[in-house]
């Protein structure tokens, strides 16, 4: 019998996906199903939190270009 699961399909780069998997590995609160390298299904109500966590994670890893500039 086929089953239907509610969720949000997330499509992203493999690198971003691995970050999501890393975030999820702490308490398994986000991912419903990993589909392939670039797609996974996450819980609907956790999407906003996941986005925030991802943003934080990226801030730590990326070097932001300096755009303070002269006024």
């Amino acid at each position: 019998m086929p089953r239907a699961i509610r969720g949000v399909l997330v499509e992203c780069d493999p690198s971003i996906k691995s970050i999501i998997v890393k975030i999820d590995s702490e308490d398994h609160a986000f991912i419903v199903e990993e589909l392939d390298d670039q797609t996974l299904v996450v819980k609907e109500n956790m999407l906003a939190i996941l986005k925030m966590r991802l943003e934080d994670e990226l801030k730590n890893t990326q070097q932001l270009p300096d755009d303070s500039g002269s006024e």
Binding site: A4, I5, L9, L35, D67
Partner: protein
Amino acid sequence: MALLYMTKPFPLTDLDLWVQPDSKRQKDQALSLLKRLHIVNITAPSREDPQVVSLTENFGSSLRLALTGGGNHNSFGVPSGEVVDAGVDLSFLDNYARAQWEGILHYIVSSVGDGTRQEGQGPTAAVKQLLEAGNLVTKSRHGGGITQAGFSFLLQEVNAQVWTLLLLWIENAEKMELDSVEVLSFLFMLGSLELGRAYSTKTLSKTQTQMLDYLVDFGLIFIPPSTPTQFFPTRLSTTLTSDASALRSVSAGFDAASTNTSGSKGFIIIETNYRLYAYTSSPLQIAVLALFSKLSTRYPNMVSGRITRDSIRQAITHGITSDQIISYLSTHAHPQLLKHAGAVGAGPVLPPTVVDQIRLWQIENERMKATPGFLFRDFDGGQKEYEGCVRYADEIGVLVWKSDAKRMFFVTRIEQVRDYIKSRKMK
């Protein structure tokens, strides 16, 4: 369309004959859309009867009535026979509508600052209530503030603003003891009225007369104080239901109402080094600019600032898109920029580097694409069952992702696929 005058339901198999075999996909998608809108009914497939299509009863009869112009429903208004006040001409109505609409916009922006400045000037209490109900502004102990929805509201085209406000109004109509059906029908009637003509209020129903007060507050209609039985639709209302091209020509003569106060001329200069100069002293415009740029200096008649990665990011977290920012900048570009663009030969108004960079900054934040929906899995009925379901989902246009190896697929809507799987089970 041909279904309109068909009294009997129409077999689905006959419909297939109308459609070319290679465009079956389009037909299925169209049907599924119509079904969702409750315009057509499709009976459930069963063994005894073939599937039939019919128009939903209400929709069919109303459309027939509207097309033949029958019935006594005054859908195009009743012109007033009384003498028209000579002072009421097109420019008067335009000015009136603009003044009313700007009052509302000013209220939204100034809700950030001190509320006392607008004393006695702003819109009526009913309008303020509506803006709060729609979450465009919030009231708190510190005098309230503008919300994300309010920000994007400000950046919209006038016509879109009018509709946003009207939709809010319709949603809240029940609370104000108005019948939302009657509200809607009256609005559509307004859209088909002629600008600058007087119409009589006598033929309107009781609810509609009540509505007139609100519409006057919005600046959609004008009622001369001397003859309260007449009303004039303004440009805001007559363009309600017109198409996009008409909208643009109207806004060209009317763009002052969108966000600025001084006039219809552009005032923003933007350079290739992301510096921005705006020749304005209106708090409304400065507030809008501050949404997506870092303003540094303010002079009596101009402000200067920069567009930075951070300022754009901030705007995007407020729900403003890069396209909104770009279109705002280009519609309000200074004549000098326009002249330069014209000299190069109809080139872009804004420096291309800036436009591209704003878009890039937005894309930077969209590293993943999210689609809410349903994942189907565990097809243990064999490859055939899986393939059938995937093909069906694809045909009605809800399939977003599938994996043949894992026998899983993802759809945006579940109802029809579920019914399909059930109907397969019965066979």
